[in-house]
Structure formats: C-alpha cells, structure tokens
C-alpha cells in the first residue's frame, strides 16, 4: 500500500540526480530491497509505471534486487540466515541478534542517457 509513497521518493530522487547529470532519458532504475521490509516488488512496479508517466523515466525498467535476511547473534556471535518469521539465533536460540541484511530500502543507481555536449552551430 505504501509502495506508492516509496516509489514517489525513488522517482523524485532519481529524476533530480538525472537532471543534475544532464540526462534526457532514464533507461532503468536499480533498487535494493530487503526481504524483511514487507515491500511488494509487484506493487513497486505498478507504482513505477503509474508515477513515471510524463517523466523522462516513462517506459524505463525497474530492476529490483531482493536481499535475503541475515543476522548476527549478540550472545554467541553466530551469523545466520533466517526468514521473516523466526529471527532467533540458529545456533544458541538467543533472541538478542542484530540484523545484518534484509532491512534495505536503497536506490542503488540508474542508467541514463546523457546527450553529447552541444557541438555548437553547424559550420555549413
């Protein structure tokens, strides 16, 4: 549901960076999304299509990399992967763990077209 708001931030930020770079076209935007965030990639795609209309990102691609969840146990030091439903340490059962991966909500980058510098008036 909040994917619309998330995508609005993505586009605002990316379009501003693209504009600063002198880009005329955004071919793709790369996002890194952690699996623990509860963000639905399909909903992001939908929001991207809707919100990019009329911008230089219209018709561009959204490339989403989903980061699996992993944590480090603060009790025994074990690093382990887990799902969204059980975050306890797989070695000692402790619940005192810090998330290493899976909480990401990051704009990694974008592929843009930047026209060659204006060569000036045609000499002919």
């Amino acid at each position: 549901m909040h994917e619309m708001g998330i995508m609005a931030e993505v586009l605002e930020s990316t379009l501003a960076a693209a504009s600063d770079a002198g880009a005329t076209r955004v071919n793709s935007i790369r996002l890194t999304i952690g699996e623990l965030t509860g963000i639905v990639p399909d909903a992001l795609e939908f929001a991207f299509e809707a919100l990019s209309l009329g911008t230089i990102a219209e018709g561009g691609a959204l490339e989403i990399t989903v980061v699996p969840a992993s944590s480090r146990c603060l009790t025994c030091g074990e690093e382990f992967s887990h799902d969204a439903y059980d975050r306890r340490c797989t070695a000692c059962g402790s619940f005192l763990c810090e998330v290493l991966g899976g909480d990401e909500l990051v704009i990694s980058g974008a592929d843009v077209d930047v026209p060659d510098p204006d060569p000036g008036p045609d000499p002919k």
């Binding site: 549901m1 998330i6 439903y85 704009i107 974008a110 592929d111």
Partner: protein, 217 residues
Amino acid sequence: MELDLSRPILEKNDALAAENRARLAAAGVYVVDLMASPGAGKTSTILATIAALRDRYRIAVIEGDIASKVDAEKVKAHGIPAVQINTGGACHLESRMISRALDALPLDDLDLIIIENVGNLVCPTEFDLGENAKVMILSVPEGDDKPLKYPRIFAISQAVILNKYDTLSVFDFDERAFRSAVAKLNGAAPIFTIAATKGDGVDAWAEWLGARIEAAR
C-alpha cells in the same frame, strides 16, 4: 551512462525524523508511536494510558487518521492537548507530518507525546517519525495468527499490547501460540494484556512507559 546513487529511499523522511528526535530530546519529551489495525483499540488504549499517567506526567496526543477529527475530539474532551493529522488517504504517518504537529504543541510543558498512527499493520513500520519507541496493539478478536501474517510490526515494536483481553474466552485465541510466535520475532518485547475500556492490566503498561518517560526527562 550509469549513475551511482546508493542512497536510502527514505532519506528525507529519516533526516526529518532525526530532527524531530533531537528537538524532542532537547525538550525532555518521550514519544511513543502506537500502531494497530483499525478497531484494535488505539484510542481506548490512549485514553486508558492518559487516565493512568496524567497525575504524574504532562501528556499530549498526535492523532493520525486518513480523515475526520473524531479521535482528537475524544482526547480533547479529557482536557489533554491533541493535534489531528489527516493524511488525506496516506496509509501511514511520516516525519514531516509529525514535525508540523510538534509546532502546534507546547513541547517545553510536556513529558509524553502519544502518537496514534493510521490503522494499518504494514505501512507504519517503514517510517521513522522521531519517536523513542514504536508499540503495537493487537486485539484478541483479530486472532492469534497475526504475527505470522504481519511479522515486521511485531519484530520492530519495543512492546506489544494485547487489548480486549477480557474477550479471550469468547474468541478462539490461542494465547500460547501467539506468545510463541511473537517470541520468535522479538524476544525482547514485553507483552501487556489489557482491557483498555475497563482499565484492566493498564497499570503494568503504564509502569513500563513511566520508567521510560523518567529516563527521558
């Protein structure tokens, strides 16, 4: 051409949340963000919390709703300052909205601000508001399986309130299964069982909150 951006999607929200947090810390105000489904009893829990703590602390409420002023009116009727935020369709509160609400409150004359987030178990979990703690309320009629359907809200909450506990015998709510599912997600969060409209169990929750308000003063 490749643009390397590497920036948090919510960096503007996070930056403003950090500003809110610094401003509140300077004023010595503790802020709790209450999250729950529509109808879980957020407003009733707030009224019960106010009743338990108002003799000791100066309290204000920020009410987030998609529309209407109903909840803020209920709080104001008890003589507590309340600011209503209408999100106009947005499913959660953001730090910018809280920043504006703080402008309308006498921060130096407050000890506690309770934020009532928009009724939703998904979206509010992603947005830092500048609060000290996020606390989620589940009500018994919603069912014991909610940690399995909405794991994130249980994982990020510093405490869980199980409201409408007086209806446990009426609904098929397996309290052991519920506690076990929450423990897998968040073993550190205490679970307070309350019946907000009757005041049952509110003391333990109020004591937990009171200790944190003291620490923030």
